[in-house]
Symmetry: C2
Subunit: 345 residues, 2 copies
DNA sequence: AAGGTTTGTGCAAACGTTTGAATTATACTA
DNA sequence: TAGTATAATTCAAACGTTTGCACAAACCTT
């Protein structure tokens, strides 16, 4: 049906091997032959069959990204999309294709990735985050299949991974509030079993301790990565006899809940409560007021993950190294924190 | 290295063909043999090599989705992500994998899809939307490659596609405002060259004409799919001597701009202006106030697109039919339109 | 001018499957 | 019990590449 190497060979009056070598720029092919073959390829509209190629080379030139289960954490979508764009862009640049797989639950997830890995459809995998005891990690680890984790695994510290320094990010965010003169700073966190929650909490603590500010347990609220968490956190916090004047919130979507809560209670942002959030998703800018947020470079995170993975895949088994990349973050200051309590007491 | 059909065959004392037929449930395989072979496969950890399979079957059991260029329309990401989830879920269910490709510009986009198509890496493609004269559409059309369009192509009406009835959707949204008693209704649209903009505008017109309401040109603003468009639209509209009391806005993200504009001008929603938006992205619910929006079933759109495509792919060339699927929409009423002017004059 | 390199090509096997046709074993019919 | 229909299996070619090895021609050396 479609043009093969043999067709080209025949028309060019050479053997298939020669055509193949032209394709791979083999040094021993004469300039004349090369030119002629290329001409004919062009003329006949030849395109190499990747499947055949893969079969013999035992390499697919593609990687997969495993999308965590849809779940309630819908809000992460914006983050994932950016990540995926980064991955796809970099992969394309290295001549790789990206497969995307997912599952309705953990079991299905493992099943999906097993299909890809066992069927030798992909050369490597990108994991978009890891709960502890992630079965996908176990699976891949076990068969020594190349993969990179976007995020950090407590249980497997020496795994190929790309991450944000979340401790530092939270530290920076807190410093920002402190430098504005805030002395009563609270924290709305995420699920206490997620590494990112823990890290950000620790950064927050560190900054406050260092500045000798009170670290009050009732100003720290842990919740889900849902806007409702933010909403509820506000009911609690703002009813306290002593209230914080500044607040770190673990994610932009949670911040939406916070803002809604404050609105309903009749408080103003940033005058009554200044807020700094994390992730800097597109919505941070759109919010009213716009939210100060730590940009963690989602696109860059994806781009680097892909790069690292492909590099590993192309390195012989024995020489692979489980490096850990940290992507730079940066605080984007917007209206939600543009207020200094010390000038306004 | 890894277990092949031959290894299994040898150990089971049968020929490779038999093993292959066991795998495909060939009717002429005896129950005994089948059982034995399966046992051995299990025991040896056999998994079919998809590449080899593809090579002979000339079918890859995978489709690709072509992500439009990143561009400024970042806001669409939320929509795309939902779509992709739908696509991936359905594809998995049919035993298909999903490749995702993209490009920094139109040329790169075509190049990327050409690689996949020419390299026979995928059996079909999902296009996530189409500008007019989309080069990717032309490319695929030309080589009769199976693809489905999410959206509608004016230029190629009889193409396999899955879409929302945007005229009806806008009609419904307008009816909602009308039924609340609004008689002065405006429209903030998208780029006038996008089919979705045109359709929604037409639905709006139809509803107003039908209700004998004034269709004032100065209450209709066309813009980009950006929040700034919404913001600017407000400066224009609210400075008019006669102002609308209700408004249709083409997309939730644009509505964010509208809301920001109104806030700055000191107007209240929905009392001073009631708003109904489209797409019902996660952010519609999060907004303050929450936005009434027409849900267009993004996930369902993706799911159906995938289903339709795979069905087509598996239908012999001659019998393929360019069907057009319409996914149901439904208006989600929230605070932004919960106000009736007639009770409050 | 003969031996030794270098350069350019071709041969054929291999990658892991599927599948039509051929073959053998088994069961049924008369 | 021979003869035939049917069930179960094997053979071998094919899918479109790559690549080690063999070979021939052209080029250097001395």
């Amino acid at each position: 049906m479609s043009v093969t190497i043999k067709d080209v060979a025949k028309k060019a009056g050479v053997s298939p091997s020669t055509v193949s070598r032209v394709l791979s720029n083999h040094p021993r092919i004469s300039a004349a032959t090369s030119r002629k073959v290329r001409e004919i390829m062009e003329e006949m509209g030849y395109h190499p069959n990747m499947m055949a190629k893969s079969l013999v080379s035992k390499t697919t030139k593609s990687i997969c990204v495993i999308l965590p289960k849809p779940a309630e954490e819908l809000f992460l979508n914006l983050f994932f999309m950016e990540l995926i764009r980064g991955i796809v862009a970099q992969a394309a640049r290295s001549g790789y294709d990206v497969l995307i797989s997912s599952g309705a639950n953990e079991a299905e997830e493992v099943e999906a990735v097993a299909r890809l890995v066992n069927g030798r459809r992909v050369d490597g995998a990108v994991l978009l985050y890891s709960r502890k005891d992630d079965p996908v990690v176990e699976f891949l680890q076990e068969r020594e299949f190349p993969f990179v984790l976007v995020g950090r695994s407590e249980r497997h510290p020496d795994i190929l991974s790309v991450d944000t320094d979340n401790v530092q990010a939270a530290y920076d965010a807190a410093r920002h509030l402190i430098s504005l003169g805030h002395e009563r700073i609270g924290f709305v966190g995420g699920p206490p079993n997620m590494v990112v929650s823990i890290d950000r909490m620790n950064g927050y603590r560190k900054a406050l301790e260092e500045a000798n500010l009170p670290l009050r347990q009732d100003w720290i609220v842990e919740g889900e990565f849902l806007q409702d968490s933010g909403y509820q956190a506000m009911s609690l916090l703002m009813n306290l006899p002593e209230r914080p004047s500044g607040m770190l919130v673990v994610d932009d979507f949670v911040t939406f809940g916070v803002i809604r809560g404050l609105n309903e209670l009749g408080y103003r942002i940033p005058q009554d409560l200044s807020i700094v959030s994390f992730n800097n998703l597109a919505v941070a800018e759109l919010s009213s007021p716009p939210i100060s947020s730590v940009d963690i470079g989602s696109y860059q995170l994806g781009y680097t993950a892909s790069q690292t993975l492909i590099h590993t895949v192309e390195t012989p088994r024995g020489e692979r190294m489980p490096v850990r990349h940290i992507i730079a973050h940066r605080l984007i200051v917007r209206e939600s924190s543009l207020f200094s309590p010390i000038n306004n007491i």
